[in-house]
Amino acid sequence: MSDTLVEIKNLAKSYTRGDQDVPVLRDITLNIDRGDFISLMGPSGSGKSTLLNLIAGIDKPTGGMLRIDGEDISKLSEGELADWRASNIGFIFQFYNLMPVLTAYENVELPLLLTNLSRSERRERIEMTLNMVGLSDRMNHYPNELSGGQQQRVAIARAIVTDPTILVCDEPTGDLDKQSASDVLNMLKELNNTLGKTIIMVTHDAHAAEAAKRIVHLEKGELLDEGM
């Protein structure tokens, strides 16, 4: 029983450089089911991040259709898109993108500030989430007091604390050593399996890609036939 969460049809994205149109994505058609875990692979510059950013609603397509959970997000205004992201998307970056002046706890609290949860409700959620990523004892540490793997776990906690439908990860293990990378991948698998989060992960690393249920290849802005 397939329940399509992300519907992408003839999606195109091009950037204008000077007065030239530079196509980055061409005619992408792809469906992603609810609860899927998908890896986006491809050489550098193939447009992986661009596609991910479109799905995450932080960039806008120049053509085609992009519907998520029934909603055509390419039609949303900037403000609506921001609200939509806040409740539907958890973003995990290669370089963690934590606020260096905030503790692990405060970083995880950030997205909750846009909800109307009370202080104590927030506390409960944050503690639970940090516990899930195994950082209960590091709550009051600043990012520069944490290892790369620990920082990425804080970032994962920040991404899931609002209980979003989709997790988008842009090379989440790209900056980590083997052990930390495998910890992070296991955590993502866990989130996919137990909480049913739909995960879309960009990666260079074939080994990392194997964590996913499905692998999609991009090359020069076009999707190749799926290998599995």
């Binding site: 932080i58 960039d59 992201r85 973003f91 290669q94 993108n97 905030l102």
Partner: protein, 386 residues
């Protein structure tokens, strides 16, 4: 709440940069405050001048004098209560840099016109009795450590020769706007000596100081006095003491304007410095701001973070600067240079101007970086990472 926490944490992130920026702001706010106070002090003399007093001078210019016998004719004019006179002496005490105003006055009634000079009756009497006596203001006496009885040598410039005066009285000001840095001597004593040497220069006076019955009639009485001497050898120009002082100030208006301009230039410069700090800060944090936007924070929130940070800088700079302005001003007031001013006090309006400048600095410094950071597209912002 959280917003403030984030702002404060960000402010103290680059401690050295923040310290330097705040220091610059403090210096600018203090400099601005002191320069404004100089301008205030400049006008203070005129503001404290009594409108019940008129000053009559030669219509051509202050450097020309009038015959002393004019006094009798002035006395007969309706509304005139007392007529006295004074003459700029312009001597040098030891060094030209020791400058202070010296006036040769009619010892009999000059001080009747100036109740704001508080003189002990017995000292005033002693002054009147000693042809070589002098009355000096408290600030001046303190500056040179003079006491009653001291003999002060003064080298004449307008009235050549080496003169000696004995201090018979030291007067205090009624309030802090009263100038107490003058030196008064007997005009009679000077005049006699002048007459002996240059008979034609005798019995000539620089200005008449006139006390009138009714300040509201100052304009009419001034006209009547000038009419009395129309077509005389020395025509007169009479105005209120305040107008006379302001005329003096007006002569130095270019300087006052320059001081004003400089004080605002200082603010303008610090505005550029703070704007630069904010621009640098915002540029370094492009990726962080983009991340906030990814999480769903609005561009306005990002702009508000930058704006708030600039305001915190401005707040600290202004706060410390205003607090420092007071001791600095009183330090200057007690220095020889500051002694030239009757009062050198930081006014409430100066403090408000300092606050206004700080707010303007904060707002304007945040304008461009705030606007730019709010507008940066998320994907472009994120590309700044690593």
């Amino acid at each position: 709440m959280y917003y403030l926490k984030l702002i404060f944490k960000n402010v103290f992130r680059a401690k050295l940069r923040t310290a330097l920026t705040v220091t610059g702001l403090v210096v600018a706010i203090v400099a601005f405050g002191l320069l404004q106070t100089v301008v205030d002090a400049w006008f203070a003399g005129a503001n404290s001048a009594s409108s019940a007093r008129l000053v009559t001078r030669n219509a051509i210019s202050l450097v020309f004098s009038m015959p002393t016998y004019y006094r009798e004719r002035m006395r007969s004019i309706d509304g005139v209560k007392t007529v006295s006179y004074s003459q700029w002496f312009g001597g040098i005490y030891k060094e030209p840099s020791n400058f202070f105003p010296q006036f040769a006055v009619d010892h009999n009634n000059y001080f009747d016109l100036y109740p704001e000079f508080l003189i002990k009756p017995d000292e005033l009497l002693a002054f009147k009795r000693d042809r070589q006596g002098a009355i000096v203001g408290r600030k001046l006496a303190d500056q040179f450590g003079w006491k009653v009885g001291d003999v002060i040598p003064i080298r004449g410039t307008i009235f050549s020769g080496n003169w000696q005066f004995t201090i018979r009285a030291i007067f205090d000001g009624r309030d802090e706007t009263t100038l107490t840095r003058q030196f008064f001597m007997h005009w009679d004593y000077i005049n006699e000596s002048v007459k002996k040497r240059f008979p034609r220069r005798g019995d000539q006076i620089g200005v008449f100081n006139i006390l009138i019955n009714d300040p509201s009639r100052a304009a009419d009485i001034s006209k009547a006095i000038d009419a009395e001497f129309r077509n005389s050898l020395a025509e007169t120009l009479t105005e209120t003491e305040k107008a006379f002082q302001l005329g003096f100030v007006a002569q130095s208006e270019a300087i006052v304007v320059a001081i004003r301009v400089v004080s605002f230039v200082v603010i303008f410069i610090i505005m550029a410095v703070v704007a630069n700090t904010m621009a640098m800060t915002a540029r370094e944090r492009i990726a962080e701001y983009a991340t906030l936007k990814v999480l769903g924070f609005s561009p306005g929130y990002v702009a508000a973070l930058i704006f708030g940070e600039a305001m915190v800088l401005a707040f600290f700079g202004a706060g410390i600067g205003i607090l420092l302005t007071f001791p600095m001003a009183s330090g200057f007031a007690n220095s020889p240079a500051g002694a030239a001013f009757a009062s050198f006090a930081v006014s409430a309006s100066t403090v408000w101007l300092q606050v206004a400048c700080a707010v303007a600095v904060g707002v304007i410094a945040a304008l461009v970086p705030g606007w730019r950071s709010a507008r940066v597209k998320i994907v472009d912002g994120l590309r700044h990472v690593g």
